[in-house]
Amino acid sequence: MDSLNEQFGRIYDQYIEKIYRFVFLKVDSQETAEDITSKVFMKGWEAFKNQNADIKNPGAFLYQIARNSVVDHYREKGRAKVVSADFSPEIADPKASAHDRAILNADINVIKKAVQGLKKDYQDIIIWHYLDDMPIADIAKLLDKPAGTVRVMLHRGLKDLKNMVEES
């Protein structure tokens, strides 16, 4: 049987990029995203050990910690949720030309800024469904809402996002 380290190591490998991206889209810098993501996995590891690996849905568990951590972050800073996409790091494919990278970065920054302007629940649903390929049923469980409600929220979130992108 695998050790707790090995089990959590696999969970880490599976979710580190997703959790980082989830956090990064909600905060204003790479440094903050790394800081919060570190705390998420630290807390996750502690809980994993304390519950002797008895966590039925590690992904949902980590996302829940991430959501709370982002809330705590803004609460600690005592500020409103004002984010700036100007601090975003280079995220385009390094193999692309400088011109292509600039365009891609610009597109990503526009959509990133728009996502950050959405209501928190809409943000989460859009990120989970379109970036993490999470099925509606799983999102419903995660948010403890009916699947139909999640579909409606996703539809409204997309509509709001579309408006924001078109207005930018």
């Binding site: 891609l104 859009i126 379109y130 579309k162 078109e166």
Partner: protein, 242 residues
Amino acid sequence: MSKITQKQLIEQIRGLKEIKPRQEWVSLLKSEILNTKPETNPKFSNFEFRISNFFFGLKTKKSFAYSFATLVFVIVGLVGFAQYTMPGDLLFPVRKISEQSQAALSGQTGLKQNVATLNSRINDLAQAAKQGKKNNIPSAISEVNTQVSELAKDLKNNPVTDLETLKEIAASLKTLADVPGTDLSANSDVKDLYQTIVESQIADLEKTTLTDGQKDILTEAKELYGQGKYIDSLEKILTINK
């Protein structure tokens, strides 16, 4: 930005998948998290954990002890079995190492060790000849030649006056001369060794008070020595020493 379709919007959202953490940070964080503390099962208290560790350690030590005991058993068996080998056998080198180790442990000096080894090799040759082990005889002769050469060199470099040692060497050479079908007199080292031993024995006997009969035998031995018949001379001398 101009109007976009929902499909284009979703494609743009999916473009955010390009957001990835720095790989070095990912690796560093993983090692920091998983190596922060040695892994323990949280269901165990410290005391229980120590107990379980103790038994695990015991189990590990036990399996190691079994492996070690098996290894020792195999080595002892191998060395024991090697004592019955002869030159030319597969395990004969093991026996040689074992003999050298025993000689070193018993504190034998270089010359005494060489004499003991020569005796052993001569016995091997005698046994091989007696039992008709034709395959072993060439190797046994080679071993004796090697050992005689070693001893001859040793005696040349460090002349020995110890009568007991010389008698022992003389007895060994007599035994060698008696082994049927193994004439080593052509070997210059063997010849030198015989000469050295006979010379020293004659010199020693000349200083000793002898009976008339012994004096006659010594005279004969000296004559044989003068003729280069060292083995015959040695045989005569050994009759005086009896």
